[in-house]
């Protein structure tokens, strides 16, 4: 022990107790990392000194799996990309393949895809906001939102036969035409959506605790968002009004009157609000789409190279039998070439880059998963924050393991 006078007082760290940063592994099996991701943290008390995000635990080889079946057999796989809004993935992939084939589905089908897709977007945003609220300890709004999400799933179940993994898209159309009650069912659930969004706002947005938890936490600046290629609600929360539905309208989105909500600070609060408001805008789109959607007319393109023939014809005519056989055994022949198609998924620009060698099997399917870019930017949002802020920030990025890790 040296005398105090002998100590070098200029370097005060010599006087302090040795303080190492605490390493903490969050995940891959952590209750709050929905999806499996591992966050390797270095903690200085409660403050995050360094963070290493390690995704990949849900990698199932989606892109490679696509190369072993027919084009239509990819649909069940895309269901399992963003499993919170599978219908948007179905639509996105169908549009990509149809783009390479150079076909456009009939108008009624385009509206049908918009309707189902927007319902899926509402469930996606609701789930994300609900999870963010729950991670802040507010369990009540979580269950309110989940309740209405379930009613939307009821509608989707009536239409597609499955609540979550619909596998409902087809190249050149949909697996089945709309049910006669589609419009009534959707119109019945839309007021409930608006109601629960309003309830959530009254319960949370005037609550000092909630505001203190989300305002100014997990900030992503506009420049950083652009650098990381972030899209979707996370980008829009920083103030950039990029929405594929407006920027590059596909389907019939150019016929609808809707707004793209933007934030200004890029924090958790803005992301929460952007998603809530987009839910409202989706309701607006749905109302217009239902009003404009024709009640009859074909759903599938009239092209025997893409669409399976009528079952009754398969049993009675040789042409239909052969067409059925060829489509089932060899799949839809997609012309040789490359194609990139982007749609607005739940988390942002959902891109499918497909390469065909002219056979019935995809040569390459590459997905641009929107939340992957958000997750990369996550390192910026977490850095310097508190341990407790990681989880809601992570929730508002809405990293979906299936989509991110593929």
């Amino acid at each position: 022990m040296e005398a105090v006078d002998d100590l070098d007082l200029q370097s005060l760290d010599k006087l302090e107790l040795p303080a190492d940063l605490m390493e903490l592994n969050m995940g891959p099996a952590h209750p709050a990392t929905h999806g499996t991701v591992r966050l390797k943290l270095k903690l200085d008390g409660e403050r995050v000194a360094a963070i290493d995000i390690q995704p990949g635990y849900l990698h199932r080889g989606f892109e490679k799996s696509c190369e072993r079946g027919t084009w239509n057999q990819v649909f069940p796989y895309v269901d399992r990309l963003n499993y919170v809004s599978p219908m948007l993935n179905n639509v996105g992939f169908a549009l990509a393949v149809e783009g390479l084939c150079g076909v456009t589905v009939p108008e009624r089908c385009q509206y049908y895809r918009v309707v189902l897709g927007e319902l899926a977007r509402i469930t996606d945003h609701m789930t994300c906001n609900a999870a963010t609220a729950m991670e802040l300890g507010a369990f009540t709004p979580f269950l309110w939102l989940m309740k209405v999400r379930d009613w939307i799933y009821d509608v989707l179940e009536i239409e597609t036969g499955a609540r979550l993994t619909h596998s409902f898209g087809r190249i050149g159309g949909m697996a089945a035409p709309p049910t006669p009650d589609l419009k009534a069912n959707v119109r019945r659930v839309l007021p409930e959506v608006l109601k629960v969004v309003g309830e959530t706002e009254t319960l949370l947005l005037r609550n000092r605790i909630f505001l203190d938890r989300v305002e100014g936490t997990g900030v992503l600046t506009q420049a950083e968002a652009l650098d990381y290629g972030v899209t979707g609600p996370v980008l829009r929360s920083t103030g950039i009004d990029y929405d594929v539905r407006k920027a590059e309208p596909y389907l019939v989105y150019d016929r609808f009157d809707f707004d793209v909500p933007v934030g200004s600070r890029g924090d958790n609060y803005d992301r929460f609000l952007v998603r809530l408001e987009e839910t409202r805008q989706s309701v607006r789109i749905l109302e217009q789409a239902l009003a404009q959607m024709p009640d009859d007319g074909p759903i599938n393109v009239d092209d025997p190279r893409l669409i399976l023939p009528e079952k009754s014809a398969v049993y009675t005519t040789i042409e239909a039998t052969i067409a059925h056989f060829k489509l089932v055994m060899e799949g839809v022949k997609v012309p040789r070439g490359e194609y990139y198609s982007a749609t607005e998924g739940g988390n942002g620009e959902l891109g499918f880059f497909i390469v065909s060698d002219g056979s019935g099997t995809p040569y390459r399917v590459r997905v641009r998963p929107p939340c992957w870019y958000g997750l990369q930017a996550g390192a910026r949002m977490f850095a310097g924050g508190m341990l407790a802020d990681i989880i809601p920030t992570f929730g508002s990025i809405n990293m979906i393991g299936g989509e991110c890790d593929r």
């Binding site: 605490m22 903490l24 969050m26 209750p31 709050a32 300890g137 369990f139 508190m386 989880i391």
Partner: protein, 398 residues
């Protein structure tokens, strides 16, 4: 007064009172589990507990989910008692006890009813002009004392101590040890973080908790809970809630922080800390932490009822029965006592209900925000409350 009871009688009375208060807690705690589930289900627009059933007389009895707490405790008893490798086995086993025991211990000072005269259960009692209890009767058409009451009275309170409320603080102060030890002994970083958070939070809020009660102590001029309740007897407006509204609010906030429930549940912080300090606890050891939380909720409500809501006082009910102006409904000492104990239980239940409402409506604070709330807002406000109370009392007496 109780000095004149024989040792046997005193022991019997103490045993009876302990049984009552423990029975109350052990009855309310499972009910609280049920109420919490039922109430949260109502708030959250869902069905709630309704699965557990018992088969009797050829049909399944679900009893609106009341069986769930029993199913829960059975589950906890039968679950594996897991001790993580590398954990400090002794401390790991002790921590739940250290958490639970002080919470129960603190309830000893709660007066759940007035002094009871076992010999006069059938008589109507009243206070004589000298302030001594006596047997009341009609003399010349006016209610008055007819005979002196027997001096054999028992306070309905397990421990009648001069230190009174200080014992509650002393016991409550130990609760933090359980949480901190549980976090420390588990050999898990999440537990450790939870334990540290619990220690920091509880120690901080204990300061505010103690200071908020100084205001009422100045007003009542005693540390003895039973004396405080008597002080609040003259009318509803002498209840602590009206005399010390700020202290009531501050006390409630600080006490909720002590119970470590939402919005102050950062020590558990299930989203980031998995389970906080009891991450590594299973079976009945976890059950004890769980139970301790509910006992703390009950204790909070009981103290709030005693200090701020008149304890066992029922509005308009005097020793001699209901009195409203000229109207007088005489009642026997036994029924008055029963009503008062019932009134106390109802007050406690209402205060518990209020805590559940808060629990299911609010999100969670962040750790630093909790500390800021405590040291920057609650503590100065509670000090201000003391100063103002003191000034007013001095002014009134001069």
């Amino acid at each position: 007064m109780s000095a004149s009871l024989s040792v046997g009688q005193a022991l019997l009375a103490a045993a009876g009172k302990s049984t009552f208060i423990l029975g109350l807690v052990f009855a309310i705690a499972p009910l609280l589990v049920w109420a919490e589930r039922r109430q949260s289900a109502m708030i959250q627009d869902r069905v709630g507990p309704h699965r557990a059933s018992i088969r009797l007389f050829g049909r399944d009895w679900r009893l609106i989910g009341l069986l769930h707490p029993f199913a829960d405790s059975l589950k906890m008893v039968w679950k594996e008692d897991f001790i993580p490798p590398g954990a400090d086995k002794v401390l790991h086993a002790f921590a739940p006890w250290i958490s639970l025991a002080p919470a129960l211990f603190g309830l000893a000072i709660i007066p759940f009813g007035p002094a009871i005269y076992f010999e006069h259960l059938g008589d109507t009692l009243m206070l004589s002009p000298q302030g001594v209890p006596c047997v009341a009767g009609l003399a010349n058409g006016v209610l008055g004392c007819t005979a002196a009451a027997s001096p054999l009275a028992t306070e309905l309170q397990v421990a009648t101590l001069d230190a009174g409320i200080l014992l509650f603080f002393a016991a409550g102060g130990l609760g933090v040890v359980g949480a901190a030890l549980g976090g420390y002994a588990s050999n898990n970083k999440y537990s450790l973080l939870g334990g540290m958070r619990a220690a920091g939070q509880m120690v901080s809020y204990e300061v505010t908790l103690g200071l908020t009660l100084v205001g009422p102590l100045l007003v009542f001029g005693t540390l003895r809970p039973e004396e405080m309740v008597r002080w609040q007897s003259s009318s509803v407006f002498t209840w602590g809630f009206f005399l010390q509204p700020l202290a009531f609010i501050l006390y409630f906030v600080a006490a909720m922080a002590e119970t470590k429930r939402v919005p102050f549940d950062v020590p558990e912080g299930e989203s980031e800390l998995v389970g906080g300090y009891f991450t590594e606890y299973s079976g009945m050891k976890f059950g004890m932490f769980f139970f301790a939380e509910y006992v703390e909720v009950i204790a909070l409500a009981a103290i709030a009822a005693t200090f701020f809501c008149g304890g066992w006082q029922v509005p308009l009910l005097t020793d001699a029965g209901f009195v409203l102006g000229q109207l007088h409904v005489p009642m026997s000492h036994g029924s008055v006592t029963a009503l008062r104990v019932g009134g106390f239980v109802i007050k406690v239940l209402v205060l518990i209900w209020f805590q559940l409402m808060v629990r299911w409506s609010l999100p969670r604070f962040r750790y630093d925000q909790i500390m800021r709330l405590c040291w920057r807002y609650l503590l100065p406000l509670s000090l201000l409350n003391i100063v103002v109370t003191f000034a007013v009392i001095v002014w009134l007496r001069s």
